[in-house]
Amino acid sequence: MSESLSSRIAADFATTAGALAGAPVATPRRRAALETLTAHGLPSTRDENWKYANLRTLERLRFVPAASAAAATNPSVLAADLPPALPGCARYLFVDGLFAPALSAPQVCDAARVTSLAAAAPLAQAAALQSAAWPEPQSVDERFLALNEAFATDGASIHVSSGSASIELLFVARADAQAGASYPRVELSLDAGASLTLIERHLSVAADNSFVNSAVTAQLGRGATLQHYRLQELGARAIVFDTLAATLAEEASYQLHGISTGAQSARSTLNIRLAGEGANLAMASVALGDRQQLQDTFALVQHLAPRTRTAQTFRGIAAGRARVAFNGKIVVANNAAGTDSQQSLRGLLAGADAEIDVRPQLEIYTDDVRCSHGATVGKLDDHMLFYLLSRGLEPDTAQRLLKWAFLQEVIARISLPALRREIEARLPGALQDTTLRALL
């Protein structure tokens, strides 16, 4: 990172530190995060897990939070610009990183406590969780989490003590990147046996060129179940750096569904720790790139206890001059006997100038494991294409249908029908035929 970038971050922090004092992150933690950033900088493309990320763009971004209380209490975000409400889900909406109660539809629920981070003290364990999450202290992979920590304005704290809850978090980016950045933040905590369905959605309204730095931490207690849908649908010129850190206790189950279609440049860094015996991760994600988009994901999964399981599926399509990258690293620690890990990473090249990089990595420190991985990048299958054409389908329809089919392995796992229909309607799919579906 250039000198000027770290000094700009420090300067932006100095101008906003007063306004940021207190919630959602305590001042000492903000200062510690800033110190990490000024001492070690943000990642560069020389760092192993960052070679596809678009980091140059940071040189022309501002780090001051764009959030303003006036905007959140009187948002010009129109309900019409928002996706339809999902049945049975409480909705909490944030504008440029600040809670907007007027556009939220909370539901009283005994199981879950949802708090605006700015309005309440952050969860005590969040700090400890973060520093324990990465394999080595002050890993370069957690720098954007530190950036969020330093500048966060608000966020959602969700604590599910028992039973189950369904919650939708909408993060609306509205500010022009020149006006400042948006720092969405989610702190999740599920007690033993608790269950949560969470839809986390990032989208743009008004400006399509926002700078978003989002951070999610999740702690799943013994036997807890988290069904997590992450939808990145930001505007065409938006820049997003996203970090997720999750820790699973014994027999906890985490189903993570990622659908990344938006932004000019998107980077997601995931670190999931299977820390308790029998913890289970099912991760399925889709990334679509077109034009000059970049969709870059680095996912680190750490098997730290016996009998832990991972099933990781990635499907990426790159069209136009887009670049789609998925780097899935799975580490099996020496005490993680009986681990079962499966990776299926596939890329589809849909443009002569497009690029896809899928990279499975395995680091295994014990003998008693079952690990399989497959990684392929290819074009649409000629035999399939000819079969569809021979039935009279237009080439364009046939290609869209095959892209649709390519994504189905991930999309079919979305178990919320309303959400699935909505996502399907916006994929490069074909034959949206709700009447037919209803009759079957």
């Binding site: 035999h383 039935r391 649709w404």
Partner: protein, 252 residues
């Protein structure tokens, strides 16, 4: 009566190797033609070339279909003009529902004829009707195209597609291969149900067994890229008795 399909002196190479060598064939509406021949004689090449599969080079000759220059049309245009290829090896397409493909294919054909898209309810009634004829279970509709189907199921699915699309000319490429006798009868019943004075069918087959159930008007024997002998259905029986060596020897 004018010919529906007129293949004139057709020569085709694949990867520089000549497969069809000046083939002539005339098919009129209402007729069923069987094309038989030993392995490697060019039967499947002929079927693929008529459907417009890429990878074949036409070095000479012409094919007209209902007055259209068939070889100039893209595969999807041929399909919409009424040419149907039943694949020897139907392709599995996981993630694309059978029912979506059927409906998209039917609507593509209807659009060609200036008709509106088919109503979903009418469509399902029609498809279920044809499925019954082909002994296909209802769960088939929501499964992926040919996904996990047995060989016999795939072939029945080909015929189901044909019944829904009602092509003018059906070219069935070894639809009988790999079928047990029960499945063969079902497939034959499907093919026969579409026989009419307005339609024609070209059956590409290695064995004469299918021809006991779908009785052809003409039988042609393809040897080394040419039709070496033509006759009526008794030719198939004679072939069964005497083997392809008999015709191959004559043609040499």
């Amino acid at each position: 009566m004018t010919a529906m399909l007129n293949i004139n002196n057709l020569s085709v190479t694949v990867d520089g190797k000549q497969i069809l060598k000046g083939l002539n064939l005339v098919v009129r509406a209402g007729e069923v033609h069987a094309i038989m021949g030993p392995n490697g004689s060019g039967k499947s090449t002929l079927a693929h070339v008529l459907a417009g599969r890429p990878g074949y080079e036409i070095t000479s000759g012409s094919v007209s279909f209902e007055g259209l220059d068939l070889l100039k049309l893209a595969p999807e245009e041929r399909a919409r003009a009424g040419v149907f290829l039943g694949f020897q090896y139907p392709v599995e397409i996981p993630g694309v529902n059978n029912v979506y493909l059927l409906k998209a294919a039917l609507n593509a054909a209807r659009k060609q004829h200036g008709l509106q898209e088919v109503d979903a309810f009418e469509f399902l009634t029609l498809v279920r009707d044809k499925m019954k004829l082909m002994h296909i279970e209802d769960s088939f509709l929501s499964r992926g195209v040919n996904e996990g189907f047995s060989g016999g199921e795939k072939k029945r699915n080909e015929i189901l597609q044909m019944l829904v699309l009602e092509p003018k000319l059906a070219i069935l490429d070894e639809t009988d291969s790999g079928l047990d006798i029960d499945a063969l009868k079902v497939v034959a019943a499907g093919v026969n149900s579409l026989r009419s004075p307005a339609r024609a069918c070209v059956l590409v087959t290695h064995y004469q067994r299918l021809l006991e159930y779908v009785v052809p008007d003409f039988v042609h024997v393809l040897v080394r890229g040419r039709i070496a002998r033509s006759g009526d259905r008794t030719l198939a029986l004679e072939l069964e008795r005497r083997g392809y060596e008999w015709v191959a020897g004559e043609a040499a």
